[in-house]
């Protein structure tokens, strides 16, 4: 069955330190993988996606994510965290073997950056 896991409910990082938000997935076929960010009382904003090719994907606001097929992971990273990065982060996957148009969503990880 298709699934996405974000094992950390919350991640706390000091400003200026590197951050990682974890995501693992399970699909039958090849995955399309996505990261979104949500600020309080706002809609989700698309950050980046992996479709094919280079395993390291760069996105908005200095974020990047690394696709690891053997570990079925797609962790979100940033070299130096900003207080403004504090938000809720969602990982999502589309199974390319699935004929519907849906994304499977993780439960979200709250990222808190402390000054």
């Amino acid at each position: 069955a298709q699934s996405v896991a974000q094992p950390e409910d919350q991640v706390n990082v000091a400003e200026g330190n590197p951050l990682t938000v974890k995501c693992t997935y399970s699909v039958s076929g090849n995955p399309y993988l996505f990261w979104y960010v949500q600020y309080p009382n706002r809609g989700l904003q698309f950050l980046l996606k992996y479709i094919t090719g280079d395993n390291l994907v760069k996105g908005s606001y200095g974020f990047e994510a690394e696709f690891n097929k053997s570990q079925t992971s797609f962790h979100l990273k940033k070299p130096s965290a900003l207080v403004s990065d504090s938000a809720l982060y969602f990982c999502a996957v589309r199974d390319t073997w699935d004929s519907n148009y849906q994304l499977i969503w993780g439960a979200g990880t709250k990222l808190i950056i402390k000054p």
């Binding site: 996505f34 706002r42 809609g43 994304l103």
Partner: protein
């Protein structure tokens, strides 16, 4: 460029009252459209999706319904609201194109409180 609108931004309704939330997309044609509900600022629950006018798929049986009267208009309705319908309702669209990666783009959301 494409934009997605939702209204109202906030809504407070009594139990048993009707509901109508509207979502419109500009700058694209034949989009896939989605309604999600987000409870307690966390996970996303897909309620409905549509691949064309009059074509609605329901993911969760409930007292909500959706309609797509025009290509870029998606409406979420209820005849009688329940307390459990409170939440943050998000509309999203994705391109309906061959080879599309199904990136979804979200509206600003509607905060519904049922009292």
């Amino acid at each position: 460029s494409q934009t997605i609108h939702q209204w109202p931004a906030t809504l407070v309704q009594p139990v048993g009252s009707p509901l109508s939330l509207e979502c419109t997309v500009e700058g694209t044609s034949n989009p896939n459209l989605y309604w999600y509900r987000q409870a307690a600022g966390r996970g996303l629950q897909l309620l409905f999706y549509s691949v064309g006018i009059g074509q609605i798929s329901s993911e969760v049986p409930q007292n909500l319904s959706a309609s797509r009267p025009q290509d870029r208009q998606f409406i979420l309705s209820s005849k009688k609201l329940l307390l459990s319908d409170s939440g943050f309702y998000l509309c999203a669209w994705s391109p309906l194109l061959a080879g599309s990666t199904d990136t979804q783009y979200f509206g600003p959301g509607t905060r519904l409180t049922v009292l």
